[in-house]
């Protein structure tokens, strides 16, 4: 499982081998129990089961079992999209019109037909509801959507949006989405957030009120996916049951239970006793199941998988605050930090690999020939002395993230050991306070890890390097050259030419030390040896339960 020295392809081959070998061992000669209950434990509870107002991973994994989307990611290659409710689709040459042909014969769990009207209703509902998950804004390229989102969201505003004709039903099984401007990530967006609800079901249960969330739907979801919703007991579990009429055929397990337990040792005991099939351990708890020297499982009945995610950890600065506005100071911090040591000691060379850019390995635009930001304490010291700033730096981290804490401690030691009159104060905030302060631009110096929404580099550059992007704006970072390249890449249809632009963007960003990209996160999957069919997706938004098999013991 040691993969630090491996490149992009080595990493991917390793991933493929680890998954294939594990399941070859696990599945050989065993009989699938089709009456089994598949129980997986999550550290935290899902927030909402309304697919049009849920964005946290805990909810999305459950929603993926209940609902169908227009398209979905292919598990064999996440850069490929395959049809889900849509049998086929076409995109106009100007990239403004997306036409989807819906599979005939799809049925919701209540037996009603899924048609193009439900697809239109679902997309319109996501925009008109404009819930706190912020999904509507992701669809702002749909005709009329941005005007509606910026409006007071009255009924008149909703009528204006509908009149704009962003989503049009052509016939019972054809729907077209019209965009205001081309968006190369639009299909990826649909693979994440296009869950189809039944119009009749929603209208009979609270309906659709512009700007209002529907509490009933958020607790009583009904879709057309492989599992039907049974119950949600707050603080305890969500139970789903196999939908026998699912268009791809019924799932391998009869029932799915998502149980919510935060304590790692309790999760492990449940797994070892067979009460749970898959558990949700953090890297910091990996020593409970793995020999960290060999990477082998400590228990014969437990199998452990680690595979890279499209998720990266980095250090950020507030450009509006001195001394972070000085590129030499940022470079000094980068050079002071022993990233390889961090990956070896904290991530055990198993749960993370070094990256050279904020675009992670696995994305087609990953710039292979850009060197990593090297650790060089002597040069770091010289740079700090050249800047001449002394005092205390406040580094802020999330209190619930052990990796982040270790990184901060190592950062503190590496800077203070240089003896340049700088001390580092680590401030731990709970997650929502951290996010609130980050959003308000109140943080000076912080570390964070973030997952990509799709394998498209556009999402990463949009968030991290575009001046108005989510993270860049929190850093008060503005760079017109990067902005121009970002928009040029977004409009470029040729993949090679686009990748060249992203390469240029990363070279610029690294030279400016906009952030310090340190490591790519890996996922830790811990499950019983009686479980098979696990699909490892680097996007984390995977529909797991449909493929899961449980073997008779």
């Amino acid at each position: 499982m040691r993969n630090r020295a491996l490149g992009k392809w080595g990493l991917l081959v390793l991933l493929a081998c680890s998954v294939v070998l594990t399941f070859a061992v696990a599945t050989f000669g065993q009989t699938i129990d089709t009456d089994a209950t598949y129980t997986y434990i999550r550290k935290a509870e899902c927030k909402s089961l309304d697919p049009h107002n849920a964005k946290d991973n805990y909810s999305l994994v459950i929603l993926g079992d209940i609902f169908q989307r227009l398209v979905q990611v292919d598990y064999e290659d996440v850069s490929v999209l395959v049809g889900d409710a849509a049998a086929s689709w076409s995109i106009s040459e100007d990239g403004l019109n997306y036409t989807f042909h819906i599979r005939e014969g799809l049925k919701f769990h209540d037996g009603s037909d899924l048609t193009a009207h439900d697809v239109k209703f679902s997309l319109d509902r996501m925009i008109l509801m404009n819930g706190t998950a912020g999904l509507a804004a992701r669809y702002n390229s749909v005709l009329g959507a941005q005007d509606y989102i910026s409006s007071g969201m009255t009924q008149a505003d909703a009528d204006a949006y509908l009149a704009a004709g962003g989503v049009v039903v052509e016939d019972d099984y054809t729907v077209t989405i019209h965009l205001l401007q081309p968006n190369i990530t639009f299909m990826n967006l649909l693979s994440l957030y296009s869950d189809i609800v039944s119009e009749d079901y929603v209208m009979a249960n609270g309906g659709l009120v512009p700007g209002e969330e529907n509490d009933f739907i958020s607790r009583n979801p009904m879709g057309s996916g492989p599992f039907t919703f049974v119950e949600w007991v707050p603080g305890q579990r969500v139970v789903l049951e196999r939908y026998e009429e699912y268009w791809e055929g019924p799932a391998n397990v009869k029932r799915v239970v998502a149980e919510f337990i935060s304590e790692a040792s309790v999760q492990l005991l449940k797994l070892r006793s067979g009460e749970a099939d898959v558990i949700d351990l953090a890297f910091s708890d990996a020593n409970q199941v793995l020999d960290l020297e060999t990477g082998e499982s400590l228990f014969p009945e437990i199998q452990v998988l680690s595979y890279p995610l499209l998720r990266q950890g980095a250090v950020f600065f507030n450009f509006a605050v001195s001394p972070y506005d000085d590129v030499r100071f940022r470079e000094a911090i980068s050079k002071a930090f022993p990233c390889d040591l961090f990956i070896e000691v904290v991530l055990y060379n198993m749960f993370g690999n070094r990256i050279n850019s904020i675009i992670p390995i696995g994305m087609p635009a990953y710039p292979t020939d850009i060197p990593v930001l090297e650790n060089d304490p002597a040069e770091a010291k010289a740079l700090f002395e050249a800047v001449g700033w002394t005092g205390t730096l406040d580094m802020t981290i999330r209190s619930n993230n052990a990796t982040s804490k270790q990184l901060a401690l190592m950062m503190k030691d590496s800077i203070e050991d240089l003896d340049v009159g700088i001390t580092v104060n680590i401030e731990e905030l709970n997650s929502s306070t951290f996010v609130g302060q980050m959003r308000a631009g109140e943080l000076d110096f912080w570390n964070n890890s973030m997952g990509a929404q799709s394998p498209k580099a556009d999402h990463v550059v949009d968030g991290f390097l575009w001046s108005n992007g989510y993270y860049a704006s929190q850093q008060s970072f503005v760079n017109e050259e990067i902005d121009a390249l970002f928009f040029a890449a977004r409009a470029e249809q040729d993949q090679e030419a686009r990748n060249a632009m992203y390469h240029e963007i990363i070279a610029l960003a690294n030279a400016l030390y906009v952030n310090i990209p340190l490591y790519q996160d890996h996922s830790l999957a811990v499950m019983g040896s009686w479980v098979g069919g696990w699909k490892s997706s680097p996007l984390l938004w995977d529909r797991r339960s449909y493929f899961i098999e449980k073997y008779e013991q």
Binding site: T37, T39, E45, C46, K47, S48, K55, D56, N130, G131, T132, A133, G134, A136, A137, I149, S150, M153, G211, D215, S218, R219, W232, V233, P234, G235, Q236, R237, V239, R255, V257, E259, I261, S262, E263, V266, L269, E275, N400, N430, S431, S432, T433, V435, G436, Q437, R439, A440, G463, Y470
Partner: protein
């Protein structure tokens, strides 16, 4: 008596108002309450809408008045840490579990401390008294989380290791069992509901899950209750009417059970009422150790995520319960002993 009652009842809203002021002030300390409502990368428009919807951009006093107005209308806010349930709904969901633990804990405390206290009083300075004294001291000194972990260690780990019958590590019921034997909700208390609906599998299983959390909470009250029972019993046994009864040749067992015990229980009952309030507060720790999905578990989750609406709801609920318990205890005290007048 009625005047006392009216005065006490009128004080309760004042106390609760003070509690809401304090909790509201603390909730303002985090600085960014809107962050608890929106997704991490929610666009600025959505954040703005949330700020407006919940009046978060208005002065603190105005926000407090909005909060109070909503509170009186029965809208205690949304519990963002618990699946976006309205806070009152969340309380309805979690409170029965906590009440179940608390009631069993108080029952356990009584069953242990009353006989021990009486035995210690009857054997004053004897070996039973000395042993009881040591046990009481240990009970008072031992933090709840330590006793909870010790109970888990012995009654789950050690018994399981020995291949013997063992108690569950935690939770409220065995997952597979409740799925196969769904429980109809009557009160929300699993043991009571399963009893009422004749769901025996769940009855035994949920009782098994309840026992260790209740025992660790109950043990925390046992030490003090035992000492108070002993002291009170000794006071009563030294009363003249006991000497007279004994001189008249009344049997010792009758003397203890009918004459001494009833009178010695007056202070014990007072303490019991107050302990129930403390036990409810103690569930925060016990429910966390035993991952028992009650109010305490919910409150810890809310604290970890800065879910101020849930935290304020929890504190307000506990304040209401404790205020009522204090009132009932005072009234019960005067009813049990007519010599005591409420003034």
């Amino acid at each position: 008596m009625i005047g006392f009652l009216v005065r006490r009842i009128l004080w309760i809203p004042v106390v609760l108002l003070a509690v809401t002021v304090l909790t509201f002030m603390l909730s303002q300390a985090s600085g960014h309450p809107e962050a608890a409502y929106v997704a991490e990368d929610a666009p600025p428009e959505v954040v703005e809408q949330v700020i407006k919807r919940y009046h978060l951009d208005e002065p603190a006093v105005t926000q407090y008045l909005w909060y109070l107005k909503n509170l009186l209308r029965g809208d205690w806010g949304i519990s963002r840490s618990s699946s976006n349930l309205p806070v009152l709904e969340a309380i309805k969901e979690y409170f029965p579990a906590t009440l179940e633990v608390a009631l069993l804990a108080i029952l356990i405390a009584m069953l242990i401390s009353l006989p021990l206290g009486i035995a210690a009083a009857l054997n004053r300075n004897g070996w039973i008294d000395n042993v009881t004294r040591v046990l009481s001291l240990a009970g008072v000194s031992l933090p709840i989380f330590v006793s909870a972990l010790l109970l888990q260690y012995f009654f789950f780990f050690k018994l399981q290791q020995a291949g013997l019958f063992h108690f569950p590590l935690g939770g409220r019921v065995t997952l597979g069992l409740i799925i196969d034997h769904p429980l109809k909700r009557v009160t929300g208390m699993y043991v009571l509901d399963s009893l009422l609906t004749g769901n025996w599998s769940i009855f035994f299983d949920s009782f098994k899950h309840l026992l260790l959390p209740a025992l660790s909470l109950g043990l925390a009250s046992t030490g003090m209750l035992t000492r108070i029972t002993r002291t009170s019993m000794l006071d009563v046994l030294n009363e003249d009417y006991i000497t007279v009864a004994r001189a008249k040749g009344l049997r010792e067992s009758r003397l203890i059970l009918t004459h001494a015990l009833r009178n010695s229980l007056i202070p014990v009952i007072t303490i019991l009422g107050l302990r129930l309030g403390r036990i409810l507060g103690g569930t925060v720790i016990v429910e966390t150790v035993f991952f028992f999905p009650g109010l305490g578990h919910w409150a810890v989750g809310a604290i970890c995520t800065s879910d101020s609406a849930s935290i304020m709801g929890f504190v307000l609920l506990i304040s209401i319960i404790r205020s009522l318990l204090n009132l009932v205890t005072d009234l019960g005290y005067s009813l049990l002993d007519p010599r005591i007048r409420c003034e």
